[in-house]
Symmetry: D2
């Protein structure tokens, strides 16, 4: 008998990915999956790829459907987690995939999101120093944002080591379309996206305060770009060098022994395709010959390390399971 | 201590997929992986997605590297398996991913392939009636072709049941580019393929005799099409109806209980994306209102059910392991 | 001073393509462009690629906006052309991109479309024998469907010559996503489409009666497939051979001198990418060695030869302009 | 009788695009097209999309084939233009698409390219102040690099106006695969590219000195990224703001009246898809709220404004033709 987990908001892409990971997890069992407009539908019609749960019917999203699970994953639109979480018993562990509880600063929340700040939960990025232990001791964990985790992994050790300047960090990050969700919007149509790249929210992306909070960056420009691929984030993170240290070596030392963060052999650069379906982040770094800037490139699968896989990793830690259980280190390529 | 398996020809796409599946398999252990031009390279450089084996170095392909494995997967170019297989001890089980030993007819081999016919091994498609038992009793198994397995699963039960006419079967099947291999060829460049569809080998594809042999079709036209996606086969298989039977029901009955063959709910059509990374085939069928032809659509991942996953499924059977061990039923989408 | 043309329904993909072609046409001048929900918007926001008309504002769709044009292109949803066309003066020439007036048979219209049959206009496929003259003499022309024109060009000369059997024709045709229109629908999202192929309307597609009417086919199965590319149709058309004639030679003779229909050199197969942005159809044919079926493959750009380009070609004929004016013979590749 | 132009190196992607543009140009006539390995092949087989020249046979590349043209386009690998150009009579005008003659500094040439510096020709970017006149007076013009032109258009007016800091400019630019050429290389295979993004030449790209020379930037980090699309460059260009000026207004003023450089309406961001097949660059700019950096995004078609279209624009100026002749302002979308 496995540990019983529930997925609230199971009809979206992150929800579907949670279902896939739970189906393949050796210690977790699906208690329930809920939806809004699609409540009453089978998984067979909502996520035809998740054959394991094909006959499961989505329940309506609400505390009654979720309260008897050991752990609940919230995969809800931003701003909708707080109300639901408040209705769950304290004995039920919760991992929130949304943004509601990520930020410490209410002022920053209000600047980048709408509505009041719901509060602050333990930040769910175990590879940060000391964070694994904090997650293990928590019953409420705020999962990382997809751009955020991809950027923070590239940046935090370099700033912590005094190697990269926390001022004037510049990030340009391309994401696959699943990061924009499953709602039918014209600019996300295949016809509009295939063969094209386009930036959005230029000059003010909501992941900026999360990245600064967790990486130590003090000022940061981030330009997100929609790329013609279903999954994957490639973040190019640049910061002024403060020392002559090799940034690759700093990263390699920081992540030595981490199962999911891979600093590639020198000279080999990440490609998002190599992370597909895995919970791995691939990193490489160098110093630009003309400007002297440190350039780090970081690749993840936005639905795994950027969302559902990260959530399962956090849940594993919270539940005392092996941290890697049910998660792939190897991507699917080509 | 797991069962020791080897992969000959590990630098190609099917070889890489075998490595990924072996890394995640609960009962298999990688004895060795071999290459030709890339012998001496690490998996980290050849298959950056297979992090589990990143420090494994490809050995030169030859019997000495392979002979102490319990089972060898041959993922070699067509025509190169026979010579190597002949040098392996009979005690080593072999699954050949190539075409060398699939056909019973030497005449058909010579018509569609070049060089002499090497012989005939047990055909590795366990979902055919009686075939699972034959595979279990074999030490040499010829894995299915990717177009072939996708088409045969759609067609064989309908012909066997007398529902579909074995004469004048028409198949049009689109494949992702990984089916064409990893050799650098101009027509396989991303620039040439993206945004374009193109047929090839029209009028005479080498999978035709394999499909006829295993499905019972007597005459068959198959047009293969290169599609702008890395993986996946979508086969549209049409045959004249001989009775008024519902072809979907015939297929559903034939595959009842099969873990990897999924006849979708009535009205829901397969999409290759839902099979990505899984060993599943998705099927649906109807009768065309104008012509009365039966139309079956079948979707697989050409590198999994069409190659490496099918090979592991066969190996599981040959080794007395659970048939589903190490294989995903659920695809990765989107 | 050019001939004044109007586009009704200019906010969709076919409408946008008409605007692009009109902007580059040496003899046409845009009188007005109309929309429904987007009336009042500039072309700059609706079609950012059509810089030539960036300051043009979409007028509401209605007869008053259109009646003073010399020729009106109707790019409306199926079923909406008839009411609008009835309100246009007879002196205004009309090319309807929709399906309303394509079919001769009211019974077939009612079987495949909804609502009453509006009537029958001259069928706008100039490459059919005698059709160019009929179009020149018409003030009302029904443009071809995209799958239909791609298939008819491949099939009609072979049936007319007695070379291909009109019974039991089998067509499998893949289309880029722009053929499905610009409405925001979940199954057309980039996330759902990229990396995947999926059939739809299997067993009963509404272009079947149009293809039969114009090609002479008597029974026909057509399976349409959504392909991960923005544009292009690749139709694989197979029919039983009635004679030993070389189907390529029959097609080459039929289209000798046609500016937009290109039978490729023997052995070279069409690819949709080579037709992008052009009004050309590329054809090739052979006889399948196993079944003896004739296999013709036909490629077009669904928005040009399949919609807007064909409409301009018809307009050129109706207006007494050079038939090729404003239309590209050469595609854009890669 | 048109002006006679020749294309040396017509078998590659830039060469094919030149052929397409020449075929549609009202004043140019193709004198000859040459190739290396493909000399002797017809255009029909080398560029199946360029139907207009289908029967043209590629001549061997050499001065004898080219010397009687009025103008020669050199579309050769970097480093091969100088030797050929030296053998052409001074009366033959030359536009070199390659890099050989772009840089003023021999030292920078030697740092970023191999071999000796060939010299410096007039830089072929007419939208730079005074450059149109210099091009008109030249018989030898060095065409812009694709990343370079996309970045320079975004940056030069801001530095010239004293609005953007020329120190510490950061550029991240994604390119479609055609920018990497047509040679068959494994990492450019469709299987490797589709669904993936990957950086390359990180820390030292050869367009850096060209961008600095033409834009006034003093230090510059540029990270190029291979994107899963056949064409298009999206450059994200960031620089510290030196004043409170609105960077969009500076750009709009600089390019007022330019036919091919389009500063989009405020708030609308460029997408590469909207430039496909056109000679247009689309620009937008803002100031990042957190860092205060100016962020400019620039989109072009790398084979048109980034190569062949820019070359034709330069040729038009050199030949006294209308600058826009034969070039599309409008892209092809979707």
């Amino acid at each position: 008998m496995g540990i019983r987990v529930a997925v609230a908001g199971a009809s979206g892409y992150a929800g579907g990915e949670l279902l896939r990971l739970i189906a393949g997890h050796p210690h977790l069992e699906l208690a329930t999956a809920t939806g809004f407009a699609q409540a009453g539908s089978t998984i067979a019609t909502v996520h035809p790829h998740v054959r394991s749960f094909r006959d499961v019917v989505l329940a309506p999203t609400g505390p009654e459907a979720l309260a008897d699970a050991d752990l609940v994953f919230l995969a809800l639109p931003h701003g909708e987690s707080a109300a639901l979480a408040a209705q769950l018993p304290e004995s039920v562990k919760v991992v929130d995939i949304g943004a509601d509880f990520r930020l410490r600063s209410a002022a920053e929340w209000e600047q980048y999101y709408s509505g009041p700040h719901a509060g602050t939960w333990t930040y769910g990025l175990p590879e940060l120093p000391g964070q694994r232990e904090r997650i293990a001791a928590s019953t409420r964990v705020a999962n990382t944002g997809c751009y955020a985790v991809t950027t923070i992994l590239a940046l935090a050790p370099l700033i912590a080591a005094g190697v990269a300047d926390p001022e004037d960090v510049v990030v340009v990050a391309a994401s696959g379309t699943s990061g924009a969700g499953r709602s039918a919007k014209q600019h996300l149509l295949a016809s509009e996206v295939m063969g094209s790249m386009s930036p959005y929210k230029v000059g003010a992306h909501q992941h900026v305060p999360e990245i600064k909070q967790a990486s130590g960056a003090r000022t940061l420009s981030m330009t997100p770009i929609l790329a013609p691929m279903p999954r994957g984030i490639l973040a190019t993170v640049t910061a002024r060098a403060l020392t002559g240290a090799d940034p690759r070596e700093v990263l390699a030392a920081a992540y030595d022994g981490e199962p999911f963060v891979h600093v590639l052999p020198a000279g080999q650069w990440p490609q998002t395709g190599a992370t597909l379906g895995s919970n791995s982040a691939h990193l490489q770094a160098t110093v630009d010959v003309d400007s002297g800037r440190i350039v780090v490139v970081s690749a993840t699968d936005n639905l795994v390390k950027g969302a559902a896989g990260q959530a399962v990793q956090n849940a594993n830690i919270m539940l005392g399971l092996p941290e890697v259980a049910g998660l792939a280190v190897d991507g699917i390529a080509p």
